[in-house]
Subunit: 140 residues, 2 copies
């Protein structure tokens, strides 16, 4: 049975707790992909995923991790983390599904959130900022 | 490290694959609670949760399980299961967060789904049926 990648988990939790966005960039693979909560199509590449994750962490109030699950069958690289938080007056519960590559970097991250009203509120805060980011970085 | 409750998982997968809704009722605790994808407040009790789960399984086309995670720290009773499917033309990805009681029954189940348009479509199919179910079983 594979060991959990505890080094990655310790750093992930430290990064989120400290809002250490610079360090967050260092644990994402250059070609990281992300399934964002509101949309089906994956987002690609470290700059875009890094920016979106930073916005999610900053926008959700009281962001704290709770349960943690591992996929023993596929080794140390598949992790599911539950978080809770609030946006405005709305409670939310979410799951990070993290797949690590051989270097212990995030290769794919899917983020799933309930309930719908909190997800809508989160999207309404973040989507305009994402549009601005994409516009400012077009062709970069 | 705790063993996974493989007996429960085998039965859960059989129930979903066969759409065996009668057997589904037998693996839910009488006082089961459920966090449904669109709403924050938990639903309570076997009849309501059983009915809602049956509707979700029947409404999502091509419902299939993929990754599976376990919480080693808290024993065999905490499981996360990823499913994929479609509603109409919309792809969806969801997670079942299952907590078992000492008898190996589902004590709590949270279901989280992305993306938002598929979740809205699912809610729009199921919510009217839930209203009818609650009306028909009021005071039961």
């Amino acid at each position: 049975m594979a060991e959990v990648n505890q080094g990655f988990l310790d750093e992930w939790h430290r990064v989120v707790e400290m809002r250490d966005l610079e360090a967050l960039g260092r644990i994402l693979a250059e070609d990281v992909s992300m399934g964002a909560p509101p949309y089906w199509d994956k987002l690609h590449g470290r700059p875009l995923v890094h920016h979106l994750l930073g916005m999610i962490i900053r926008t959700i109030d009281g962001f704290t991790y709770h349960r943690e699950w591992h996929d023993d069958a596929s080794g140390a690289g598949e992790i599911a983390l539950e978080f809770h938080g609030r946006i405005g007056d709305l409670d939310l519960q979410g799951i990070d599904l993290i797949s690590l590559n051989d270097r212990g970097e995030v290769q794919n991250l899917d983020v799933v959130i309930r309930p719908m009203n909190a997800l809508e509120a989160l999207r309404d805060v973040i989507a305009p900022q994402m549009v601005a980011f994409l516009r400012d970085n077009a062709g970069a």
